[in-house]
Amino acid sequence: MDWGVMLSYLPLYRDALLLTLRIGWQGVALALALGVVCALTLHLRLPVLRQIVTAYIELFRNTPLLVQLFFLYFALPKVGVRLSPDACGTLGLGLLGGAYMAETFRSGLDNIPTIQSESAQSLGMTRLQAFRYVILPQAVSSSVPGLVANVVFLLKETSVFSTISLMDLMFTAKDLIGMYAKTLECLTLLVVFYLIMLLPVSFLGSAIERRLRYAEFGDRRTV
């Protein structure tokens, strides 16, 4: 193990980490937004939209991100739609994540017995109030473990970004191995940097999970 070499690679890995985080969070934000919209569409059983959302969820849950990215980045320009690698990464991660987030939110919403909404309305709340003050808080808290798992999953999935020329952690490692063949050094740094990125998320997740658990009956971990 050549420590000097590893030290000299650090700035490259740091840049890669920042890029991974930037696109990762953009993608996660998009995924959350998409997930909420889709989950509500399904929960409220909106006609037509519901079928579209279901098709979207099934399509993206049942295909690999790598293939989705290839399609977005290499295939779409052939029909005139050209996106930057950044946009593709964000969009790909967002679309994939949206499908997963939607499922998590939906099961959170559907897990609340309808009698609660009915009772709230019979107490004089409007549908919106019942949703806002009774259903949503419980749904959110019961979705949190699933959401955190999704975020970790999405950040891990960023490792395929290298194929669309984004210089993420994986790419940096592969590229350096290709140029200088310091395999062990590069792989060790790769593992260390993934831990730096993912451990805090995972910790944060379990902290939030504990805080929110008061809203739950028993152990209903959905991960």
Binding site: N62, P64, F70, K156, T158, M170, K174, L187, V191
Partner: protein, 224 residues
């Protein structure tokens, strides 16, 4: 508008090659899932055991697998092990190894969850009826566990099939790589083949994974 590459599919053995590439993906996942189920059952049972050390070790194993991207694991196993230990694993063996390593952990956790979800009163009643611990496991706990597990492990198959798309990165020629090769060989005659081929690959994955996850969903509802 030039052709979008669908015609290229029907040239020579291209379509067959693409399906062959898909089969590589499916084969790796099936082997890995089979191994994962066997190992996962074992790990799951051990994880519910009394020894805190054993539980700790498996917890550590599970968290490690969960936190590292599969691609990183693939690289470590394919390139790293040769460097460190001098093992020369083929890409396919490495892939099966990594997927099993990952699958066994996930499966173990599922098994643990399934075992714990069986009310302890059943175990106690069985013991009260004079069954030995082995009998309790064999006749009471495991049959119910397996039933709960089947939909979950079917889900794992689709996750694996999707993840196999990564083996291209360690030089295996699977469906995505075949698609690239076809695009390359026909670049001159159909420059837009990328669209058709990547669309077809996208749909192929969907065609394999969707029915499987539907089946899992159906079983989950029925057996829950």
């Amino acid at each position: 508008m030039q052709s979008l590459g669908i015609d290229v599919l029907f040239k020579g053995r291209n379509l067959l090659r693409l399906l062959g590439g898909l089969w590589v993906a499916v084969r790796i996942s099936l082997i890995s899932v089979a191994l994962s189920i066997v190992l996962g059952l074992l790990i799951g049972v051990l994880m519910t055991g009394k020894s805190p050390v054993l539980r700790g070790v498996f917890r550590l194993y599970l968290e490690t697998v969960r936190i590292l991207p599969q691609m990183v694991l693939l690289f470590i196993v394919y390139f790293g092990t040769t460097r460190l230990f001098g093992w020369n694993l083929s890409a396919e063996v490495s892939a099966v190894f990594v997927f099993t390593f990952w699958g066994a952990a996930e499966m173990g956790d599922l098994v643990r969850g399934a075992i714990l979800s069986i009310p302890s009163i059943q175990r106690e009643s069985a013991q009260a009826l004079g069954m030995t611990p082995r009998q309790v496991y064999g006749y009471v706990i495991l049959p119910q566990t397996v039933r709960r597990l089947i939909p979950l492990s079917i889900n794992l198959i689709t996750r694996m099939i999707k993840t196999t798309s990564l083996v291209m990165m360690i030089g295996m020629v699977e469906v995505l790589k075949v698609a690239q090769q076809i695009i390359e060989a026909n670049r001159r005659t159909s420059p837009n083949a990328a669209f058709g081929l990547f669309a077809v690959v996208f749909l192929l994955y969907f065609a394999i994974c969707w029915p499987i996850s539907r089946l899992a969903g159906y079983l989950e509802k029925r057996w829950a």
